[in-house]
Symmetry: C2
Subunit: 307 residues, 2 copies
């Protein structure tokens, strides 16, 4: 895997996705080899053209000599099998290129774990020698924001005319954007979208020398604006070399928190409580025999080492 073998990478990622016990061993083993890849987070509302833009950006960075891993975090319906289908379609464009690895990660209808798994998969691609890892998320929920925020650079893609522009900007993404992209810039309303972002930025105070998120207009379907986007990413990377430490801290704090809560809940369900006891407790809360705070306090008392 460390030599970049595609099948070995795929196998390591599957272990992480399946939450196999061996996943922890993989991360432990490769961890000292990580920290070299530059992580690019890309988010935006559904329909903003993220996949196409990431494909174009991949081609652009490949031409510049980078090797690329793409993780598409995709809360696809399990029954449509969209993630797998999407992978196949997207892989075709780069099929002949061993230095591009694309993988979709689907939510499994279960909260938590996905964001941490995403960071672990990025670590695998990092250790496997990819110089860039693009993490692409659908949606603008808190999970997505957390995933993108823990990258080295966060790119927020908006699209003209998707309802009310202000609505899109409201969704907690103004603060995380290092670069704004207005995609489908040939559409009506592109300039209005730019103005809307500009006026929102105008509300913020930027210190001297502080990075002010630029707005890049693109047409991912034709490739227009992609070279400019890549230049802007490189400009940010140079500019933010000094504050990069803070991002690393945030990423690793998030990772430790996610890991702790996952392990704790697993311990409670399988070690502290007897089989069926968790469901029984939920039933008793649902029937109002016990309130959730009292129930939680009781489970905590039995879980924690008070010695």
């Amino acid at each position: 895997m460390l030599t970049g073998d595609t099948r070995a990478i795929a196998r390591a990622i599957s272990l992480i996705e399946d939450e196999a016990p061996a996943a922890a061993d993989v991360i432990r083993a490769i961890f000292p080899r990580t920290g070299h890849a530059y992580l690019i987070g890309v988010t935006g509302p559904p329909g903003a053209g993220k996949s196409t833009l990431v494909d174009r950006l991949t081609a652009e960075t490949r031409a510049a000599g980078e090797t690329v891993g793409v993780i598409a975090v995709d809360p696809t319906s399990p029954f449509t099998g969209g993630a797998i289908l999407g992978d196949r379609l997207r892989m075709q464009a780069h099929a002949a290129d061993p230095d591009v690895f694309i993988r979709s990660m689907a939510t499994r209808g279960h909260l938590g774990g996905l964001a941490r798994a995403t960071i672990d998969v990025a670590a695998v691609l990092d250790a496997a020698g990819k110089s860039l890892v693009v993490i692409e998320t659908v949606g603008v929920g808190q999970d997505e924001v957390d995933i993108v925020r823990s990258a080295d650079i966060s790119i927020v893609i908006l699209v003209p005319g998707a309802g009310d522009d202000v609505q899109a900007l409201k969704a907690g993404i103004m603060e995380i954007a290092d670069i704004f992209v207005v995609n489908k810039a040939d559409r009506d309303g592109a300039d209005r979208a730019v103005t809307s972002i500009e006026s929102n930025l105008a509300l913020q105070a930027f210190a001297d020398g502080e990075w002010r998120p630029p707005i890049v207009k693109t047409e991912a379907t034709t490739g227009r604006g992609i070279p400019e986007l890549w230049q802007t990413i490189q400009r940010f990377r140079t500019h933010s070399a000094g504050v990069h430490e803070r991002r690393l801290q945030a990423r690793n704090e998030f990772r430790l928190r996610e890991l702790l809560t996952e392990r704790l809940m697993d311990h409670i369900e399988h070690r502290v409580l007897s089989p069926g006891e968790f469901d029984d407790l939920v039933r008793r809360i649902a029937s109002r025999e016990v309130d959730p705070y009292t129930a939680a306090a009781d489970v905590l008392r039995r879980t924690l080492n008070r010695g």
Copy 2:
């Protein structure tokens, strides 16, 4: 608060939002009085017109004699103060009506807690005698899906022409919808959106007598389709009386899990670890002195009662 006094309700909700210790006491005290309100979850991508639609639905249900609480889960930028502003603007329409209570809940840039807090606020409105509680979320992330899924009925709002319709449907929301709403139905592409949902539904097998999510076309700005939406909600309520138990279970399971993880992390940071130790651990992971799995295992060992 139990008599429906608006200021008392607001105060109880503020305790929950501020994560005050008294919040647990509030829930403990009111818990036996809850379980009477019908919880309506509404989600959809940004710009779908959710707020306007919920306002119209509120007016419709008021005319039918319901009392209504609205919780708008709004991941607004903290610096724009959007949530508070939004509350004020929206309250005006129902300002003279003591039987409508509207409250926005903003994320505070921190993962977790929001979904659980939302359910607690719904419990307050329930105990305060509201017969309907509408939970409206922006975005289509996992958090939002979890919030909406724990309601008694889940309504997914889509809007024609917001990029690729399939993209919007992909985002994990097909399974949770009990009713689809195509809002802004006067726009081009409304029929295409309906067809797109229909063909997605056609992929699913519905058992005899099983609820097949209907599609309601609305124009929230004019009110067209709102009476039909309200009738469809009532139809679902009657239809699903038998399976309602399952929803209650899901809601309370989610609630117990959220509460446990919050309390456990709080315990670890403030009781198990010494001040500054958590940050120090994160720094050591960031500098690759220790891998996150080893660090988590060490913290867990110190946290758990292995006796």
